[in-house]
Symmetry: C2
Subunit: 261 residues, 2 copies
């Protein structure tokens, strides 16, 4: 099967951008569903597509149904959708967290189409830079999804459920925890009459560096240099927050296990 | 005093870029010194400036001497330079770590001129994006250095020694520790047949987001959502590395102290 008609289910942040990218490239989305009629209208009008907000109004004959909806809604929508569509249809979700197998009780053909980026409606996104992680319970559908992904981005990967779970933990470190370190920096600065403005170019450069250099080679700072004098001075400056001292210490020791601290 | 002649001492990564920026804007560097004659020649030829590698050959009559040298060389070079130059000269170092007061025993007028970015010779840098942190023991020299900084970048700040020490800790969190989190992510991926390519766009977006949004508002992920199910699943995936589990847990609890973990 080549995919020639798609129903997009969900018009939140992911659906909004994914819908535009697919329809812009291929023009093969035939219908849009959102529980919220205002979200459905916003995207439907933009793409000039019919939209509905009742599952019973969804076209039954599409090749592919993309569930771009919240994790905790996937199962209930899948259950309702099963009643509505052809048995041969391929159904994928776009989640980084939910196993593909939650779809198994409802569909013969299922998979994942997960664009790995954070999306917000008010920020344009160049889809061609985004890694797309796909999977399907049938090899032939893996190829179909891969072909679809490749029309959007040269960066597509077949990633199974076990890998995707690891990918999500890794993203927590690289994105969520990193952002929290920025917050720690900002709070340290604010307490001393400075602002994060001072570090913003350095933050960009840090992220930019690992685009071409492995993090192990890009590592700088007192820990990797074995500069214990600076480390002790820093621990002293953090004395009012023992938890933060511990965090500083455990990250420093991970960077350089030879430190005597 | 307005600064009309500068001797640049050091032609390493900082000296290389700072020298080009100042001389390009103002043309007032009169001489270059480096302990390494090959480094001196590289930059001296590029800027068409006289260069020396003996402190006794340094011009004695410049208004400003900039020590762009390693932290552990500052004191010894300062001591030797003191014998060579006029008493009224202003001497600054470019370090984020060393207090300005290490220069106090040697010079009547001293300070700091610290461009806050990581530099490497093979990467062009747009100096106009770089925050420049300045300080001086005399108010009038603060103004002189501020005027000099403003010719290079609109982002100049008067930052005293105590603030600069905090700034350095904050930079360790925002840059060094962040880079280590990228490494952790890379290792998790590698163990499961994936590469950091998958996360590079997300890493760039994370750094890009906090350029315009405070980190507290940019925070996403299981911890801030209170998604304990995902957190427990992640801890389970990290079970082979208890130290990494602890790091995951302490960062998650800092992000959301209400988590029951």
């Amino acid at each position: 099967m080549a995919i020639s008609s798609i129903v997009l289910i969900g018009a939140g942040n992911v659906g909004f951008h994914l819908g535009q990218a697919i329809h812009g490239q291929l023009g093969i989305i035939s219908q849009l569903y959102s529980r919220s009629i205002s979200n459905a209208a916003l995207l439907g009008d933009r793409l000039n597509l019919p939209y509905v907000n009742r599952i019973s109004d969804i076209h039954p004959n599409a090749d592919l149904y993309i569930l771009a909806i919240k994790d905790d809604a996937i199962e209930s929508v899948a259950k309702a959708l099963m009643e509505q569509i052809q048995e041969e249809a391929l159904v994928v979700h776009t989640s980084g967290v939910t196993p593909s197998t939650v779809l198994a009780p409802y569909f013969k053909n299922y998979g994942v189409f997960y664009p790995l980026q954070t999306f917000s409606k008010d920020k344009e996104i160049d889809f061609s830079t985004i890694p797309i992680c796909i999977d399907a319970n049938q090899i032939s559908h893996q190829s179909d999804l891969k072909a679809l992904a490749q029309t959007l981005s040269p960066h597509s990967y077949i990633i199974d459920d076990a890998q995707r779970a690891i990918l999500h933990v890794a993203a927590v470190f690289a994105n969520n925890f990193t952002n929290h370190l920025f917050r720690i920096a900002e709070e340290l600065l604010a307490k001393n009459d400075m602002t994060l403005e001072l570090l913003k170019p350095l933050i960009l450069e840090t992220a930019s560096k690992v685009q071409s250099l492995p993090p192990a080679e890009a590592q700088t700072g007192p820990a990797i240099r074995g500069d214990q004098k600076s480390i002790l001075r820093h621990l002293d400056l953090l004395a009012s927050d023992p938890e933060l001292q511990n965090l500083y210490l455990s990250l420093s020791k991970r960077i350089n296990p030879d430190l005597k601290l």
